[in-house]
Subunit: 187 residues, 2 copies
Amino acid sequence: MHPTRSRLITVATRLFQQRGYHAIGLSEILALSETPKGSLYHHFPGGKQELAEACIRRNAESSMAALDRVSATGLDIIGFLRNLSDVTEAWLQRTDWLDGSLLAAIGQEQGGASSPLGEAVRIAYQRIEMRLARWLMAEGVAVARARDMAATIIASQEGALVLARSRHDATPVRLVTDMLCAMVDRG
Amino acid sequence: MHPTRSRLITVATRLFQQRGYHAIGLSEILALSETPKGSLYHHFPGGKQELAEACIRRNAESSMAALDRVSATGLDIIGFLRNLSDVTEAWLQRTDWLDGSLLAAIGQEQGGASSPLGEAVRIAYQRIEMRLARWLMAEGVAVARARDMAATIIASQEGALVLARSRHDATPVRLVTDMLCAMVDRG
DNA sequence: CCATCGCTAGACTGCTCGGTCTATGTTGGC
DNA sequence: GCCAACATAGACCGAGCAGTCTAGCGATGG
């Protein structure tokens, strides 16, 4: 991957996840990444939208990679949820509550309308969910139950993130994690 | 409340909750509500931002009113959660997955940064949460537990909404509701 | 019948947006 | 050493943005 291309995705991801797609101007992305406009349109002929799609794809990839890393450590499901909660909390505090979920941020703005970005978000969620469900199955959860659990985990974590960021308080993340652990405990 | 003012809030709320704050131009709000620009700035001297604040406030008020209405019917907590799920599902389908949560949509775009809109969203969430917690307490839930449950319910419902809208599928709402019911059942 | 004032009406402004275009490096194969 | 191909660089453009301003409408009270 070309360094300029990568740098643009990194910077744009950070900005989009903090304030959404429409709130961020190209000028801000270009200034923060110290990239001229010509380079952006060289690497992303489709402009802002294509850049955002690349951000979404990379975001899904890195989420799945993180999931694989956890599954390789042999952690059980409860351990995974606790770990996720701790990592999320640390991340929120480290970024001063500025960072949020890229998929939620962009997804909200596309609404239910069919648009390339909305579609990209849908696919990203779906891929992460499938990877999570697959791991749950490997941990002994039945197929249908694993799919449901994966969707439930992602939905409630995303919601907790929204609330926590608004309140500048990670409590919702911990509360939701407790509930998810209880759900897992009871099968 | 002046009809023009009310109409502006109604139309702006619908648009903001579908696509967020920055994605909506004043021109769109004015065209859809058949209001000239002068009227908007007469009723909302602070412009777009003041209008959005009014939307957020009204949104919180109507959420709390809906809560009060449910509590007046004598429904228990499980009944309330089931009812909320059904209503949400019907709403999503009726609006063709276009509508979403106003507070989540605007909240995402303000991120953790301190801004008038971010503050308005924080207060709106807090008020709804307190009203919900108060009702839970009236249903016999202990004080601290009621506060936690209220935050958990709001967080996971908001997240379910995000996911459901992206997928054009209300399953996440039902899944999260099931989990919340289980949580309530076990105290 | 008129003066007042809340409200409507929309032309206008300065600005920033995303996107295009041409010119200029820079680099690797021959 | 030379030529493509790749990549950087930023001036430039039309469109659309939020917001301002002046003019006029219409009901209400004197």
